[in-house]
């Protein structure tokens, strides 16, 4: 991997050269070495390796702003990137989404537990680990096992013409295991993620075992009956459905019509035992970072505190637009295809842990459905929260002290209503990150009152 010193050389050049042509410029030089192993039918299908070195730029010219994100190899490439971005920005109209950047220089704390020194050697043995994960799932009752393990390694240098400068490096892994019986209907999922893969073989094997157990427990699932039920949502499901509420405490989403939190500031939107934050300092968080994209130091922002909507997340621009302070949440986000934009964005969404065991959550007096995994959430209206999502893998009807596997149902409800109807929190808080949860979310099992479950009419 190129040293941080080399990244700094490229970043310094971007700022030195770009400062002469712009009113402000931020450069981030990012090197990544990622690997992935995908498997299905208990076989490894493909092993992948990605090598990338890219330059991300944000420039300000009067009221105009421009961005780019492109591969580079040399200072000549950096110069061309700056020239191209300046040329393109010059001919754009003024941006209505710019009100300033971080202009103070800070020292940044070093985050612990974000880099695995042994990641390269782990990547080499990862296929063997995956074969062990498959064996574990089979041992617990799976007939077929599928999944993917992603391992990432990133090193970056960043500098702003307004003063801030820093560098950081990090590693992550995320494992998704799906155990299946011969039948299509009976399956279970296990997830694991973190920042130190070389010390995580045990938890990876546990994910395989959990998937295998759930798949076995799902055998014999019968068609569920539509109706209104209390739901117990595993951390995986809670992260997707209810994690979306604090994640949408984002002024950009509100402006785009994509958030249900417009005009809700200060309101009680959940019970008092629910607190959720944007926490870029969370130890072991997949997106933990000592500073944001502009160089504002990271801090923890309580979005929902004791059930009350307390804060949106901000970068410098939205803070000024909303008469607030930056929360250190400036990120270079994707907008559309191939377009980047400097926006507020969540790093890790972190909920406070609860105090109920899973057994206590399942100690219910009326028919309740335990959903262990979901996918394909779609909204009819983001502003009101009307949506549906499909439970997949093991799902159980909890009734009279028994768990019976059921299948083929859909949660068709409203995320704001469900957030308000959280009934109890588990004490099993865990970090969730996978296909359906793209913002790392640390959350526990949740029980929700009176949710609408639907099913096919024919």
């Amino acid at each position: 991997m190129t040293s941080t010193e080399n990244l700094k050389t490229l970043g310094d050049y971007a700022i030195n050269y770009g400062s002469k042509r712009t009113d402000a410029i931020i450069a981030r030089v990012v090197q990544t070495e990622n690997s992935q192993i995908r498997f299905s039918q208990s076989n490894i299908d493909i092993s992948k390796r990605w090598e990338a070195l890219k330059l991300e730029l944000f420039i300000v010219m009067g009221e105009k702003t421009g961005t780019t994100d492109r591969p580079i190899t040399s200072v000549e490439d950096v110069k061309k990137a700056v020239d191209d971005t300046v040329s393109f920005t010059e001919i754009l109209p003024d941006s209505m989404f710019y009100a300033g950047l971080e202009d103070a220089t800070h020292s940044y704390r070093e985050l612990k537990g974000e880099y695995d020194d042994k990641i390269d050697s782990f990547a080499e043995i990862a296929p063997e680990v995956i074969n062990s994960v498959i064996d574990e799932a089979v041992r617990e009752g799976a007939k077929r096992v599928a999944g993917a393990l992603m391992i990432t390694k990133q090193n970056f240098f960043f500098k702003s013409s307004l003063g801030p400068e820093g560098s950081s490096k990090g590693t992550t892994y995320d494992l998704n295991v799906r155990a299946l019986q011969e039948e299509l209907d009976y399956s279970g999922q296990g997830l694991d993620c973190g920042t130190i893969p070389s010390q995580s073989e045990k938890s990876m094997l546990e994910a395989g075992a959990k998937a295998g157990q759930l798949s076995k427990q799902a055998i014999g699932a019968v068609q569920g009956t539509p109706g209104t039920y209390d739901l117990i949502l595993s951390p995986t499901v809670a992260a997707n459905v209810l994690g979306s509420i604090p994640e949408s405490a984002n002024p950009f989403y509100i402006m785009m019509g994509m958030s249900p939190l417009q005009d809700r500031m200060g309101e009680q939107i959940a019970p008092e035992f629910v607190t959720a934050s944007e926490d870029p300092l969370f130890t072991g968080g997949l997106r933990s970072t000592p500073f944001d994209w502009e160089g504002t130091p990271s801090r923890t922002t309580n979005i929902v505190e004791k059930g009350v909507l307390k804060s949106l997340i901000h970068n410098t621009t939205t803070a000024r637009m909303f008469d607030a302070e930056s929360t250190g949440s400036s990120r270079m986000g994707d907008v559309g295809v191939g377009m980047k934009m400097l926006l507020p964005g969540a790093s890790n969404i972190v909920f406070d842990n609860g105090n109920h065991s899973l057994e206590e959550l399942m100690d219910v007096t009326k028919p309740t459905i335990y959903v262990t995994c979901n996918w394909y959430s779609r909204f009819q209206n983001y502003q009101t929260g009307e949506f549906s999502t499909i439970p997949r893998d093991a799902m159980f009807l909890v009734e009279k002290g028994e768990m019976k596997p059921i299948k083929n149902m859909r949660i068709s409800d409203n995320t704001m209503r469900m957030f308000a109807n959280i009934d109890a929190l588990g004490n099993d808080r865990t970090q969730v990150y996978w296909w359906e949860v793209q913002t790392p979310t640390v959350i526990s099992t949740m029980r929700i009152r009176d949710c609408k479950m639907t099913a096919a009419t024919q």
Partner: protein, 482 residues
Amino acid sequence: MKLASIMKDGKDLAEHCIDFGQKLGADYVEARYVNDTTRSLAFRNGMLVSGGFTPSLGIGVRVLVDGSMGFCSFDRLEKNLAEGAITTATKMARNAKRKEPIDLGESVTNVAKWKMETKQSLQDVDIETIKDLCTEANQQMAGLASFVFMFNANVIDKYLVTSEGTKIDSQLSYLLMYAILTAQAPGGSEQRFLDLTLAGGWERIKESNFIENVKNEVERLRKSAESAVKIDELMTQPIDMVVGPEVAGIIAHENVGHPSEGDRIMGREGAQAGESFWRDLKIGKSRVGSDAVNVSEDPTIVETAGHYVYDDEGVKSRKRELIKNGILHEPLLNREFGTKFGMGSNAAARATAFNREPIIRMANTYFEPGDYSFEELVEDVKLGVFMRSFQEWNIDDRRYQSKYTGSEAYLIKNGEITDTMVKRPIMETTSVGMLSAVDAVSKDLRFDFPGTCGKGDPMQGTPVYAGGGDIRFREIRLGGVG
């Protein structure tokens, strides 16, 4: 600063990757050099929020080693970097120790050049012209509670080379455009997420009546928000449904196209996009719909987002008939799964970028047109709904349980479409339940559903088209309304 020696020409480096992979003992090596440029603008309520010029360039290499597949990609055209990445991918593939070796079947040795035909290349369109178009598009949306318009001019040059002798040069050209619309009315708001993608050159803006289409979409959404009502009568009995080509398209894509993907059928997407209910059926024998159901997939149709002449494994494209007269007819296959099915590839391998592996994807999926006029479909419906467009939808990962919630929908009474708009009618059915209820398709084939299809891990968002004639379903029990 020491930087590795740079090979400027991506094609030369791609060919070097083939030689290097073979030296490492790979049985098959494939390299794709991709140079992708996008010019983008994003607007909120008519005002610019962002613009960018984003080039992406790199090489993706697949190696088949002892029956196991390895993939690597790199974005700097450096020989040492390429060799290091291929060495690592080869090592990882060897360590995989697959029990069942991957077999790509017969060699493919196509040599060709092709490109999406354009009258006015997107690369020749100046930014002023693009800004003018965006201004005009934004003007059509004025008056809505909020509106977002995103424009991307995207040109992709590719060079595919393999150890078997395939060499394909190609160029793709897309106008990737999206809108998020919110209409507010006293009874609440309605939203619409529109994919307005066009394929080809700048001339497609005029040829497709783009501005007029945007204007109509906005007007319809506003009307839905203002006047759609819940009609209880529709929930008390089975009704007939007529859906337009947009809804036909999403049904063709989700309930037929996805389950027909050979990799799903054989479980390769098991932990991500899922498997397929086709697995337990017999191709050529199993009935999944009425005789009126004919669904095809065709990448050879020009001026569509799903158009290509050769796929990303170098196989020449052709039309695929997925369902014929209600019976499963042909799955979508790449070389690996074409071999497993014993049918050979039908050119369904697509990769969205240099850093993604080619996997089985749809192109243009549609209900084949029938013999009816739209008026004939409606004239003997006593009580029903014409669902012209949809908003919320989803389907389970075996592609069997689907839900489509209407956006613009009208009450049909006694053979006529009334002025009464129906609020959010829901078709929540199984794939077979729904396809079995089709009794007629109109003769007006339209691809009213451009979309970005998501699949793979890491995610690959592929431009596709979907459509059909209008479809009539008999005796549908709605899952909800209002």
